[in-house]
Each structure stands twice: as C-alpha cells, then as structure tokens.
Amino acid sequence: MFKVLFDLLRYNREFLLGTLLILIILALIACSFFAPYGENDIYVVIPDMPPSAEHWLGTNSRGQEIFWQLSISMRNTLMFGVVVAAISRVIAIVVGLVSGYIGGRTDQIIMAVNDTLGALPNIPILLLLVFVLRDQMTWPVLALTAALLGWTHDSRLIRSVALSLRTREFTRHAAFSGMRTGQILFREHLPYVMPIVFFTTMNNLIWAIGLEVTLSILGFSDINRPTIGGMIYWANAHSAMVAGIWWWIAVPMIFVVILFLGLFLLAMSVNEYIDPRSRLARMGA
C-alpha cells in the first residue's frame, strides 16, 4: 500500500501535483484551530481592507479577516464532503459487493432499485427537503440526505468487479473452507475493490462539496456556519462585486478550484493506476 503511494508520488506527476494541492488545503484547515477570534464574531477588524501584509487575504464588509474565515469555512466544507463520502461509500460497498456476490434474481432486483434511485434528479429533491425542513435542516441532516442520494453510480461499479470475483477460484476455496458470506465479502473481496473505492471517494467528495457550495450560495444552508458557499453567499448579500471588494468573492473561488483540482488529479491518477491498459499506454506500448 505505502509502496504504491510512494511510487505514484515519484513517477506520476498528476498524483504529485494533486497531493501538493490537497496539502495546501489541509495546511489551511490546520490554521483554523489557531484562529484569534470566533468564527461568527463580526467587526473585529477594519472592514473592506484589500489584501496586504497585515491582512493577507483582505477583510470583508462584516469586519472579518478573510484568511480566518476561509480556513474555518474550508474545514466545515471539507468535513461535510468527508461525512457524505464516508456514509455513501459504506452503502455503495455493501450494496455493490452483496449484489455482485449473490447474483441472479436478487442482483437484478437490487440493481433495478439502484438504477431507479440513480435516475432521480438530486437537486430538486434536496431543494424540496430544504424547503420543508427550513431551520431543522442542519448540516448533518443535509449530509445524510446527500449520502443517501449519492451512492448509486458507485455501487454499480463495485458490483461489476464483484461479479467477476465471485467465479474466481479463491472465492470457492473460501466458501468451501467454511467462511461465512459476510467474511468472504469483507476479508476476500473488499481488498479487490479498494482502489475503485478510493477513486470513487474522490469523485464523491467533489460531488458532495459541489452540492454544498451550490446550496449555500443559494442561501439554503445554515448561514451561521461558515462554509465556502456561505462565504460567497455573504459576499453576494453585501454586493461585494458591485462594491469592488473582489477579494471577498475571488478568494473562496480560487481555493475551491484548488481543492477540486487536487481531488480530481488524485482520482485521475489512481484511476490510471487501476486500469492496466492505460498504464501500458503510458509506457508507450
């Protein structure tokens, strides 16, 4: 495992760049624990100051330092993404492995349900939920809902691998030597799908964070919990673009792009690593 990561860092430029970008984001998040004032305190610094040596990324019209806002927002936004990705990974892995291993009618039924859920447009359903729940829509509820909507595509991918694993020799050996189905799936099959799980986790993070940013920009999340989308929402609410306070909107946008680019590069390079044919193509075969 570590050797693979080390090799990827050494030989794969995309993986290296992705890792560096994610490290920037993580360093930024680490800063949030040293913030000199509370995340919702306002008018603690002079408002509307452009980026300077004193205020690295400037200050906003609510009298907050953008750097500290950014670091806490990034932490909350990434936290949301990680929670969504974790829950939806568990669902995707269980559904994919079970459906692929059992096969036959059960597989058909599970996949029919899977495809039906996948065909539903997420945003309208989430917006309806936000609308009816209003203030009860806290971020854990939103994360859980997003997780329940965001696993169908990946469970299909995992299932296609599990389908081929079930006819392999070692699966039969395991079954004959008396391993229970759960053990076979967890101990024998799970390691085979881990690279796919890693790849889909990155994509799922991008999707979940994008969702959170979208909903927050529209003002449909808890506006007292700083997030990247929330920063843009507040900037819009104060007409930052018209007032010429461009750094208020540009800074969160730049860092969201850094985060997404990092995750995307990691996903791409790992996907290339999984697919042996593209590895051969890289070597010039």
Binding site: P121, P124, L128, V132, L133, F220, I249, F260, M268, S278
Partner: protein, 334 residues
Amino acid sequence: MNGYLTYVAKRFGQFIFVVVTGVTLAFLIAHFSPVDPIEQTVSLLTNFGSTDPRSVEILRQSLRELYGTDGSLLEQYLTFWGRVIRGDFGPSLSAFPTPVMTIISRALPWTVGLLTLATIISWVLGNTLGAIAGYFRNNRAMKVVGVLVMAMQPIPTYITGLTLVIVFGFLWPILPISGGAQLNLDPAMTWTYIQSVITHGTLPALTLVLVGMGGWFIAMRSLVSNIVTDDYVVYAELGGVPSRTIFSQYVARNAMLPQITGLALSLGNVFGGAVIVEFIFNYPGIGKLMVAGIYAGDYSLVLGVTTISIIAVAAAVFLIDILYPLIDPRVKLG
C-alpha cells in the same frame, strides 16, 4: 420489430417505476415535514394585516381543500396522484391566483431548450475531441487540449458561470448576462426576438457546455485509446483500410455506445447544474422558478416544480433508452 416493442415496453415499465418512486418520495418529504404548509401560509398571509379570526378559519379551510390535506394519509396520497395526473398543483401563493401549472408551463420551454441544446453540444464536442485525442495519442496539440480540458473539468458550475459574467458582462461587454430575452420585445416568431433569445442563451449554454464537456472528453479519450490497441483495429490497419474509415467507422462508433448510456445516467445531474446556471443568469426557467418559490415560501409551486422535474428527467432518460437500440444493433432486444 417485435423485439424492439418488447424492449420499449420494458423501458416504459422502468420509466413508470422511476416516476412512481420520485413522486412518492416528493409526497412523503412534503407530508412528513415538521412544517405545516397551511399554517405557514396562514402566517404568511396574516402578516400583512387582516387577522380577523373567522376569515383566518375560512382561509385555513379553503387551503386545506386546495392542498388536499384532508383525510387519511392514503387518501391524501391518492389525491396527490390525481393532481399529478391532471397536472393541477393548485394556485401559486406568490403569484396568487395563477395556477402553479401555468407558471411552470411558461418556464418549462426555457429550461428544456437550454438544457437540450447545451447537453447535445457538450456531448458532441466532448466526444469528438476526446475521440480525436484518444486516436492521435501522441499528437502534441491534442495533449495541450487534454490538459486544458482536464484543468477546466473540476471547476464548479457557479464559478464558471460567474467568470463568464465578469468577462463577457463587465470586462468585454458583448453579451447580455441576465434574463431569457430582451424585456420590451413581444414573444413572437420575429427575427429580432429569436436573435434576442439566442444572445441571451449564449452565456448560460456556454457555462453548461464548459462544465459538462470535460467528463465526456476524458471518458471518450480513455475508451478510444483502449480500442485503438484492439486486434480488429490493428488488423484493419494492416489490411489497408483508410485511417479515416478506421477512426469513424471502427473506433469512434464502438466507443460512442457506453457514452450514450452515460448520457442517460447524467441527465439528473445536468438538471441540477441548470438550477445554479439559471440563478446566476436570471434565466426564466424552472430552476430559477424553484429557487424563487423557496424564497417566497410558495409551497405548491415548489412541490409542483419538483414533481415536474422528476417526471421530465425520467422522460428524457426513457427517450434516450428507446433510441439506443437504433444506434447499437447488438443490444439484446426482448
């Protein structure tokens, strides 16, 4: 032909299944919510003055009839289905007493037009470029295109849209950045009106194309670069088949098929992107309608838009599904 009909019937069954699930989900979310739409509406209306208790009670009664919240859960569920089938979601609150359906049908053509055009353009463009990039793997220009597309791909819709607004609205103002057409024009089949619709639609469509293209490009490139090394392609090359024919008939045609399936799978997400694009560009489609409905606390409008968009997306997926066998002769019919 008989096999095709069976296939269509099967897909239609799936379409119905998706619609039933989606509509049921929308119903359940709306009805198990801790917020009572009627009390919410009453408080919204009584905020503006008139608080005579008797008229409030009459209002409450009529709202209950309007929303069909009388009777048991099952009765309400059946009533809701009756409404969905008749396309009657009651009057809108924010634009009382215009029926919700009238407002939706006014907005729907904008969204359908924008999304259809943008999706087709991004699919065709992404796949064509991706196929070329995969076929000429070692071409330097295509590598540059690849890097550019890969860098564009993970950028969220909002940021792409806002960047276009800044560039084409303020720095180099050549395109309108708000609305669906010029306001003082009559919607008619005149050249000025059509021109106005096109110029207003350019930036929203461009946003959707830029956001959507990358995924198709990357998938198509890896599909094609895998097919190129297949034995039958090598055989065709050795047999002296012109490379143009190999590219279009042997490689691209095969690689296209999973991409059509992918198109059907991605439509739900495309619709999600449209909501934010319509919000940025103030485009008069149903995404903007839904956001406006939420801001205004318009219960029937939000429920109506959700239901209609679930049905519309499912219908579009169904349409792609039944066209698919016409393109792929190998698909199992029956």
